[in-house]
Symmetry: C2
Subunit: 188 residues, 2 copies
DNA sequence: TCCTTAGTATACCGATTGGTATACAAATCG
DNA sequence: CGATTTGTATACCAATCGGTATACTAAGGA
């Protein structure tokens, strides 16, 4: 692992568990076993480090969700795939997903929120497109694709958060439960 | 408005928009028009100020939700009341709800998370009790009260967040939509 | 009136903040 | 080989961090 990777790894661990603003650059470089000029050589600023962290990890989540979210006239199947994609990713990159989750509702004028805004928007867009297409096959869904996208992602993040904190496990059963509840509610 | 109230007000605005760790005590006292010893006289520490902020505002949310969540063998009605209670509160105390929301998924080892943990637990407990009682009338809900509570609160917070950012408005229609989706899913 | 208490300001504390000027070493390239 | 680029450390910067010692004022009770 080269120094750049060491810095990313240390920063991920610290940001995800204590928060961006609560962790100083000195602590990061100490944990990485290097010094500050090296950090600033690779990332330019503390904010640049955070951005690089998101760019490094988000791309693979984005690709996975994008593939899962291609609509083929079977909404239940597609939603299952999307939830599965999120669960697989979050389970494989637990620390990173913790970080992304902690930035999801960050204060609007904070650095973390600005850094994560594009990521949130890209996820929202993928899901909006999906529900927009699905509305062609399910007339009663028309005009609600934005709400569906937001609440679906909200539900996924709720389940992931429960799992990351040990109150559930991201297995096939939870995927089924999540999708079923989203589609049919709690009464069936 | 006395000095204590001035400090609480300034701190709320700053914490909610920029985040607890990103705002220094000096900035808070400057905004309040007083000096540091006054802040430490009333709150003891920066963390104590945050705690006082939560205690000051959460109680009225808790009372409102507790009344709304008393089950009388009509789950749809009760859920409507709960969502309405949240919307009314969040709309009346927008800044505070932004703060509470930003701390909801805060990193586990951060001060904000520890400060908000009890609040999260109390809300979860209210909703768990509700779904536990409801499960007596709806057999197919049995054993899922924890999940229902978590996802219901997750959905409420998703809707509130959308509204606080201007993508929806917390009116009766949104209450109906939220409850309907939670109970019957998206297909009806 | 005297004493105590609450509240507030001035001025300061050591530690840490994000960030950098300088120098040097290793690798790369012509 | 010599020159240039990349990477890294030492040592430092002004500014800010959370917090406080001291002194003062105003108010209330005995």
């Amino acid at each position: 692992m080269d120094n750049r990777a060491k810095i990313l790894s240390s920063a991920l661990k610290l940001f995800a568990t204590r928060g961006y603003d609560a962790v100083g650059t000195q602590e990061i470089v100490d944990a990485a076993g290097i010094t500050k000029p090296t950090l600033y050589h690779y990332f330019g600023s503390k904010e640049g480090l955070l951005t690089a962290l998101l760019e490094t990890h988000f791309e693979s989540l984005y690709q996975a969700v994008r593939e899962a979210a291609t609509y083929q006239h079977d909404l239940p199947l597609t939603l299952n795939r999307v939830v599965l994609a999120y669960f697989n990713f979050a389970d494989k990159h637990r620390l990173y997903y913790r970080l992304q989750l902690s930035m999801w509702f960050a204060p609007v004028d904070s650095i973390p929120f600005k850094a994560v805004a594009e990521i949130n928007q890209k996820q929202q867009q993928l899901l909006e497109d999906l529900f927009l297409q699905a509305a062609n096959d399910h007339g009663n869904m028309k005009g609600r694709h934005r709400m569906y996208a937001a609440t679906f992602l909200g539900m996924i993040n709720t389940y992931v958060s429960l799992s990351l904190n040990g109150y559930a496990s991201m297995d096939d059963e939870l995927v089924y439960k999540a999708v079923h509840q989203f589609m049919h509610g709690i009464f069936s």
